[in-house]
Point group: D2
Chain length 347, copies 4
């Protein structure tokens, strides 16, 4: 089959590789009908994720059809159309039993396109298929469902749920890329009064507005602390969601928050940040970090089915599977292409 293969920092190609086979009784093989590219894939290509080695097929998001299953698979059958989640779950370790599959100790967690071959291919082997795939209800678009493979549950669980967004809240989202937009979409499910999106790019702030931000702040031109304090009578936001992954944006998030508020970090960080405990020690703040567990996937799938989650619109560009490298170019050049998420579809 064809697949997008990583060949060390800066190098990837659309290669002929062997088809995946069932290695374990709980595996399924899925024919990929749609996949996408994540910001994390760009990090991998830069060499930032050393666990990914030469020869690895990238990608951890897909919609497809099951073509074979191991003899221990019970809930997924050949022919089923499924969502392949970025998180696989062994189902038996203490973290999985507590609902935290992102921290799986039994061989799951984020492994696709990372520790094992991924979804940017014609076929993918999915371990623990019963717990790592979800049947797709009739009547929902592939675009919408594909956003549930990673980005929407990440924004919802790590941003909205960890941040405890509640009706009437003021929510500040630092970063209006795809993850920040997902956090905005997810926040809306809890009826905050004001969602404030902060970014350096006007185009992203326009997108933020269209996905539900009430106020936008371009922090190339405006001071977001001043804007948030002005909107909240000097208190600060109830919740600040960090969706970039730099020390500066994290520190900004901690300055936007009211006493008693929550800072929910979603961003993938490569270096330490400064935590201003000399100010924060007395302010009753809660700071959370986390990898998605995908525990919200069934709920979000239901909300897509009911039309309550405006997810499909995150897909701005479409490609055929054999245009994979071009899809990378467009997604990697988001500043010019305006790409949010790209969908790469088979035939």
């Amino acid at each position: 089959m064809k697949a997008l293969v990583y060949h060390g920092p800066g190098k990837k190609s659309w290669d002929d590789v062997a088809d995946p086979v069932i290695l374990d009784g709980t595996d399924a093989i899925v024919r990929v009908e749609a996949t996408t590219i994540c910001g994390t894939d760009l990090h991998i290509l830069k060499g930032d994720v050393p666990a990914v080695t030469d020869g690895r097929i990238l990608g951890h998001e897909a919609v497809g059809t099951v073509v074979s299953v191991g003899d221990g698979v019970r809930r997924v059958a050949v022919g089923d159309r499924v969502l392949v989640s970025c998180i696989t779950s062994c189902g038996t370790c203490q973290y999985c039993r507590d609902g935290h599959a992102g921290q799986c100790l039994g061989g799951g967690g984020w492994i696709l396109g990372h520790k094992i071959d991924g979804t940017q291919a014609e076929l993918v082997r999915v371990p623990f298929a019963d717990l790592s795939t979800y049947p797709i209800p009739a009547g929902v678009s592939d675009e919408a469902v594909l956003m549930l493979a990673d980005i929407l549950p990440t924004g919802y669980e790590v941003g909205v749920l960890n941040g405890h967004v509640r009706p009437g809240d003021v929510v500040a989202v630092v970063g209006a890329g795809p993850i920040g937009l997902s956090a905005i979409i997810g926040s809306r499910l809890y009826s905050p009064t004001t969602v404030i999106a902060i970014d350096l790019a006007d185009s992203r702030l326009e997108a933020a507005k269209s996905f539900g931000a009430d106020v936008t702040v371009n922090n190339a031109r405006e001071n977001p602390v001043e804007v948030v304090m002005a909107l909240t009578g000097g208190f600060g936001a109830d919740v600040a969601i960090e969706a970039v992954g730099t020390p500066a944006t994290f520190e900004l998030a901690t300055r936007l928050i009211r006493p008693g508020g929550h800072v929910a970090n979603i961003g993938v960080h490569g270096s330490p940040a400064t935590l201003h405990l000399e100010d924060l020690w007395i302010r009753n703040v809660t700071i959370t970090t986390g990898l998605v567990d995908a525990s919200s996937t069934p709920t979000l799938l239901r909300l897509i089915g009911s039309g309550q989650l405006d997810a499909a619109r995150l897909v701005t560009h479409h490609f055929a599977l054999d245009e994979m490298e071009r899809a990378y170019d467009v997604f990697g050049d988001a500043a010019n292409s305006g790409a949010l998420k790209v969908m790469i579809s088979a035939g």
Copy 2:
């Protein structure tokens, strides 16, 4: 009356001052029968708390008897023996209504010995007396109750409750001074399996053992990360409580924690710490800070009454009121004196 008066950094004296008077209908005047000194008072004397100005009577902890009340006071009467809490509460601002009097916007919070005159005196004016004092049940010692003015609710609320200590947990407490010991005492109410105390002083670690630590680590000689990892199969503690207030101890707390664990900061910090988001972003950690709200005071008072809180033993030294300056010397030289908390009693 006589009172311990701050006269700028490094200067204090036991002065004759005017008796306090009722300034507001919700005030009470309390004759101090027992007071104590807090680590924060030492910070003030170093000049670290600029809000405290020349002429301020220090102290925010007391047991005493009400000698007069304003006409808006309803639940406290002249002659009542009361605990004076370090936190006063206006009772009407949104923070007080939400149970967070430490963040009071209506003139309360930590004000005694800070923004108004405090308890290291023969008499003290207590604002919002209905909400800021607690009647003392018969049969409990002043030593025990005095520990409820600040140190026990601080360890319990900001350490144990914020850290979500649960039965069966492994709890690491960084710092075994009075606040760390309070966190250990409070943790025991939730039946953790293992409490690990970490400090540089063997005498404090001995005290920690006597208050309920199962394991002690002198981090002048041992690596606490290695000890905690060895005790937890390489996972880390469920809860790490920071009870010192330095960048190094905070960073240590964040390295002791398992994925999904809680870091509860109690320490008063004067400078920023480094937050290793490059490790922590993916580990589902929760970090909390906070000032005590004293919302647990009625519960802790009940537990003292029932003999379930071993609080009186925190008092290692006793002084008469006119030995206040000597009490400061002994408390300030804890390394040599072995002082945990000192009690200064009237006649």
Copy 3:
């Protein structure tokens, strides 16, 4: 002044009575600009609430302007336009400090139009004015704000919050009168997938649809258990909210619920219900009861200000203050008049 006075079961009149005066330093006198009638007032008139005695002015909901305040009032001033909540709060008892003013032990709770004179009058004395009134933001209609005096926080706190409505849930609301409609409006803040309204009157079910119900069931014609089970694959609703107050409707709510679900009782009950523990003991259900605490009032006021709560539309009929008795007739004959809530306004 003029006021609607209760004169024993079945008797009320629009009488000349003495103006209220400040009795306590924390009182305010409010000139009533708009009030309304609650189902509870009809219960009182039937004689169901013996605590209400001959001579009592009825009513526990109002919007008005402060005309005088006691000397202990700090946050409310003469001339302020305020919402008068059905719940007054002493602010100092343990229930008030825990956020449960509905259970106030210090002379508050539901007292207006019950234990003291109420709001269906030209003037009303409001005890504990700082905690029992809320300033009205500019730009919101009296109709909308008046719904916050009782009915919306009741539906929200006792129905939606106690029932733990979450995104993606199926919520069954038994009873589509004003309280049931409030629960539907409040549920929508949490983005349930499906809200099912159940009632005997088609007109109320039509109203339920207009306020956000997705499915309606007339249980004069249809079996609500069958409908809910068909919609949920045989599981039952995540949340069932009882908004009537009869044994039959409560028992229905307990039969609609899935294992692990919540039954939130709002209804005022006059007789016991049968609890089918022979079925429920094994099903992990949670059943809650409660009187409103009005702790959500500031949040709901913010949501009205932002246009996110569709409250004003609950007011179906308007009257002048001296048409009070006619307003009672129309409200009491809802089956024919179609009244949901009536607003009675001064000049």
Copy 4:
């Protein structure tokens, strides 16, 4: 092998039966070293549980050694000593993924000695062995571990956790049989101030005292409502735990509770109870029911290992495996034998 076989209401015998065999890849066969009898087994023998049919081997609690495993079993190996829990878990249905294996939809839940053959035998087949057995740490007695198969997690999860027992609480436990005693033992982990045990038998009340009850009430002679109200200043208990399973004891639990309190039902009920909503509607009570999920088993096992759970003392009588019928006689005649739990051990 030999096994205790049910032959219809009132009939059981110690029969020769075929050894169990692996039926599914996730099964394990366990050689039973110790088992016990549950009150539920007596219910089954009375014919109260029609799902149990003639020929069924009874018992759902065991300690033993694994003698064979299916090819899908990963965490349990031949030779392992394990606890066999009363709850088996498929690990993939939504209830299992949410931590509620008691409500398993995938073929688990309470099935041993109910829908499939059980543990009162020389060998038992355990489905979903990875999720339904727990390795036994060295140094803990079989008596203690055997109590984790059902009774301790039931008292802890359905009584203590559902009832939200907290430090300083007053907890009333209605019924001091083995389940009530387990709830008392479990409550102690949360440091309530006062645990009140209520029963008709003085011998059980003596046992309650020895397991941690502070106050005992024989409701053949005393009025428990009066005792609880006298102890709580007329308020009622914070938590009432029902551990009998009759309408009268449930109704008693609801009368013991303070406004805002929790009633946690553990009892297995065969008939409806009366719920006095005419009193309770206004009192903010929470009532929970539930079957154990065994989600607390790892925690409780740790607490047994650390010596913090006084579980072994629940075993009052020991028998050999071929004395099974005599063990039933002694357990069934608890009033005279004083039996709490009996342990039946192989060779």
